[in-house]
């Protein structure tokens, strides 16, 4: 049984030679192609994951930009609406003011025309009165009437003026 524990130098040597050759051949023709294929695949998977992550980040960025733009557009729209409302309000006020001033002008113009017409009428009345007085005087002179006649005439004249 002790022979089982006795090392055989020759067998140790051939084991070393055999295993070294096997390891070299396997490394070159078996493990290297398999390992490089695995590493290539792992690299591809890692690249794909990185690309997917990049695309996700990019999409997120685009989404954020769109959100920001949408917010900006809403703000702009609100601003423009406010501006338009203000402009419209201003224009309305302007139109009202213009209308008011135009109305005032018209009223002033009408008043002026009325004044003119009144003065014209008064002047005409005065002229007519003067003419009537002159006619009455002429009639008075012509008839040489008495006081009664004169008086009646004056009253007639006054009535005519009152009319």
């Amino acid at each position: 049984m002790e022979k089982l524990l006795q090392p055989d130098l020759g067998l140790i040597f051939w084991t070393i030679v055999n295993f070294t050759l096997l390891a070299l051949l396997l490394a070159k023709f078996a493990w290297k192609p398999i390992i490089s294929a695995i590493e290539e695949r792992e690299k591809k998977v890692a690249d794909d994951i990185a690309a997917a992550q990049n695309a996700k980040d990019e999409a997120k960025k685009i989404e954020e930009n769109l959100k920001r733009e949408l917010e900006n557009s809403s703000k702009n729209a609100a601003l423009r609406l406010e501006e338009a409302t203000k402009a419209a309000q201003k224009e309305r006020e302007q139109i009202l003011q213009d209308a008011q001033s135009q109305a005032q002008n018209l009223v002033a113009h009408a008043k002026e025309e009325i004044n003119l017409e009144t003065q014209k009428a008064i002047a005409e009345v005065k002229k007519e009165l003067a003419d009537t007085a002159l006619l009455a005087a002429k009639k008075l002179v012509a008839k040489e009437s008495d006081i009664k006649t004169n008086k009646a005439m004056v009253e007639e004249l006054l009535n005519e003026i009152k009319k």
């Binding site: 055989d8 067998l11 140790i12 051939w14 084991t15 390891a23 290297k32 398999i34």
Partner: protein
Amino acid sequence: MIGEILQHHILNHGFNFLGIQFPISQFVAMMLLVSTVILFVFIFAAHKKTGRLRTVAEMFVMFVRDDLVLPNLHEKGRKLVPFFCSLFIFILFSNYLGMLPWARTVTANISVTAGLALVSLFIIVGQSIKNNGFWGFTKTFVPGGVPWWLIPLMFPLEVLSLIIRIFVLAVRLFANMTAGHIILIGLISFIFIMGAHGVKDGFMTAGPVMFMTLFVSILELLVAVIQAYVFTLLTVIFASLQLEAH
């Protein structure tokens, strides 16, 4: 008698095939057979792009790389992955092919396991010198924080510890594989011992013994994988101890 059977099975003999005496021993012939089978299987697998064999080969390489080498040796061990793959597969195939009828279990011979352990030692020492330089390699034998006056004692102890580790590596594989054979031979011998008492006793013993032999053989299938794994894992751990300077 059992000793003789065991010695015939485990010790090295001349290789005689079909009455022709070959100038190599049985164990060398067996190792060549194992190596040829491994080369054929894995080179074939490497040249196939798909298929079950290729998948199994890739799973095996990834197992050795991701579960044995990289967790212990980190990036330094990446270059050693092919060596550890070869070591694992050679021991595994030797263990399994040794279970075939008429074959020899090369890993149940101390000289073969010693040869494998020596190759591991060369790789560990060589890689340590390559990574750390010769001075760095000698420094791996001095644990960090040791007072200077303890170094003359610690250095030979650490060198001895590496040699013992490698020696134990060889003995562990040899002992485990031999133990299986001893149990099987011991069990089968029961039939003959009982048969010597009487033929009927021999036949009565044969049934339970064959059942137990089958059980031990199934256990051996498991032991074959476990021992290949243990040998490779311990080599990786010893390499990690030597590659990283204290």
